[in-house]
Symmetry: C2
Subunit: 268 residues, 2 copies
């Protein structure tokens, strides 16, 4: 029987992970939970993010999921262990798969990671990459999420902001020469929408690793390819705030229109 996979994010970004999951396991059933009443997690504390993430995970567990994908870099960085301790189903985060993929393709064993303030402050990517023998330079890009949500994914302003955030990171602080990094890890689920623009901004020899793809591959590894074969499974979405906005913005991230969204309250 097809498995039911829970996918959790603070908002819409995790839909880029869901999109990859449905590519590789189309027959699985999916419950997507967007904690939109509390987004963005990127600027919140560990304590607050853990509280909301656990409440969301409990909700999904009560609705019958057999596996939970934490499709939110901030929640993974700040609260993955807390979430694992709070539920009985296996939990996959987005950070380790992205770090592992970076290590597989890097020749120089040096990566640059771009993410939100909270993810960078946690140094979760640095730790994960280190475990795979990689050095990491982390760079917070707090304007990328609002720029994506404004719809400016191919806008001159976004290109200018990208140059400001990224150009210097690939240079050595001491002499201004290339720092040797040959991988850029997109450490936020909003960033895959900026991938074409970032491809033009980032030095040519640098490969871009999208955690959404790597995470989907990890889930296949755990569940087996057979588990999600066959005809398209069900998708049901839950949001803690405005259904209308979820429908409007979410479609951009999933790459297709979203129906079947239910408003829920996890603070009761």
């Amino acid at each position: 029987m097809a498995p039911t996979i829970g996918v959790f994010d603070s908002g819409f970004g995790g839909l880029t992970v869901l999109r990859e999951l449905r590519n590789v396991l189309p027959g699985a059933n999916y419950l997507y939970f967007g904690d939109t009443a509390h987004l963005p997690y990127g600027a919140k504390s560990v304590r607050t993010v853990a509280k909301y993430a656990i409440a969301s995970a409990h909700f999904l567990e009560q609705h019958g999921i057999e596996m939970l994908v934490v499709a939110c870099n901030t929640a993974t960085a700040l609260a993955l262990d807390d979430i694992r301790a709070a539920v009985r189903v296996p939990v996959v985060g987005v950070i380790e798969p992205g770090a592992q993929r970076a290590a597989e393709i890097s020749q120089t064993k040096k990566a640059v990671v771009i993410a939100t303030d909270a993810t960078v402050s946690s140094h979760a990517y640095q730790r994960a990459l280190h475990q795979f023998g990689m050095e990491a330079t982390e760079k917070a890009c707090p304007l990328f999420v609002p720029l994506v949500e404004e719809g400016w994914v191919e806008h001159p302003v976004t290109e200018q902001v990208s140059h400001i955030y990224i150009d210097q990171v690939f240079q050595d602080a001491a002499d201004g020469k290339p720092n040797g990094a040959d991988v850029l890890v997109l450490g936020c689920t909003h960033y895959p929408l900026l991938r074409p623009l970032l491809r033009r901004v980032v030095p040519e020899h640098v490969e871009i690793v999208d955690s959404a793809e790597s995470t989907a591959a990890k889930v296949v590894e755990i569940l087996g390819k057979e588990s999600g074969r066959g005809s398209t499974g069900n998708l049901r979405c839950y949001a803690t705030d405005s259904i209308e906005k979820f429908q409007r913005l979410g479609g951009k991230f999933l790459g297709q229109p979203i129906e079947n969204i239910e408003l829920v309250d996890i603070e009761k």
Copy 2:
């Protein structure tokens, strides 16, 4: 005896209102509540904003305030009536004072209002300005809050974004000529930090109205100038998330360092 005034916002922006209040009523005592665990309100629904705003108002009322200033445009736009119904003390919002001030100085009786998505969608400024005999063009500027929080208040990117948001608004849709507006209302408490930059972007004949100033004047009108005379009163701040971030960012908005911040949970 000096009054105790409660000032409420979703985050730090309301500190621009507190700053003006302390200018005109230095002797009053202030309790500032920043609901930082739930910020930003700008993209949330009426239902969610009202729930958080009322919980915050109750908290301040239980701590002895004699008047409540809702120093948040989104909360005022979406939930002022709900907040008034939920507490016993007088409640002043930021929208009506700004609209009244705009009407006082406008010759053409046409204003442009810039604000968050939620404030614009509510058309609260349009209604308030209409009551004072003014026509209003409302424009959402969702990138301004993240740009201010990034600290880019005098940055070329912010200037470019301002031109994109604002240039067309002062033109007539039909013939591209000036639309006659002679006032720009800053309909978000983050925007006073952009005032010097906006002064350069906005046409010269247009006056800028800062709701923070107008709101402080309204409070003086209600309480009387005498009430807040004398030596500097106490200031105590409450936040629902990271004290550290409140301290770091809040100081920019208040114009001086902030001590005396307490972490509180309004969801219990």
